[in-house]
Amino acid sequence: MITIHYFAGIKELTGTAQETLQFAGQTVDQLRKELAGKYPGMAENSVQVAVNEEYALPDDVLSEGDVVALIPPVSGG
């Protein structure tokens, strides 16, 4: 299983702050497409993906126990 965290506008879109999915062995890009299919409207948002608290690349492969976060455009400061 992997854990996925949602924040800000993406959290409002999904209606949940986190969920778990069977997704080990697949890529970040595959996960992004899966979630875009599951949550209408997500594909229109520009979202980066973090894996284990570091920004990930589309081809990075997810492992069992990974903690993923969808990072919408940040606006700190």
Partner: protein, 146 residues
């Protein structure tokens, strides 16, 4: 205190200036970012900040490392507050010390620019007639979608 932290309580900037002060320092720059009431003609009632706290603290520390590599002899402390903040509250504090003032000024501005690029913190503006996550430009004042 931690040099790089996401906090929920009001920020006391003096703590951060004191933290970076040391005998080698000839300059300390202290930046505080505050909640602004008016943005592009729209009145903000208050802001709500949210963070991915563990990653945000890592990214703040990364910014500190970038600065200490780029400007030799600097030392950095940064805190960002989350939760509901009222007008004029301090949202972020950045303290940089260096042997000479130029590096302290430059590094401090670099820190706030990098925070706005890479640190997973989000700001929601709340108005009389609506609200919006900044960075997500889909909702506009009045609530209509564009």
């Amino acid at each position: 205190m931690k040099a790089y932290s996401v906090v929920t309580e009001p920020i006391n900037p003096q703590l951060y200036a004191d933290y970076v002060l040391r005998p080698e320092a000839g300059a300390v720059t202290l930046f505080t970012g505050h909640v602004r009431e008016w943005t592009k003609g729209v009145k903000t009632l208050y802001l709500a900040y949210e963070a991915y706290v563990p990653m945000a603290e890592k990214k703040l520390a990364q910014i500190g490392r970038e600065i200490e590599e780029r400007w030799e002899g600097t030392q950095v402390a940064i805190a960002h507050r989350i939760g509901e903040l009222q007008i004029s509250d301090i949202a972020v504090v950045i303290a940089v010390s260096s042997p000479h003032r130029k590096a302290a000024y430059e590094a401090n501005e670099y820190a706030i620019e990098r925070i706005k690029e890479i640190v997973p913190i989000w700001k929601k503006e709340i108005w009389n007639d609506g609200e919006e996550w900044i960075g997500d430009q889909k909702k506009k004042p009045g609530g209509e979608m564009i």
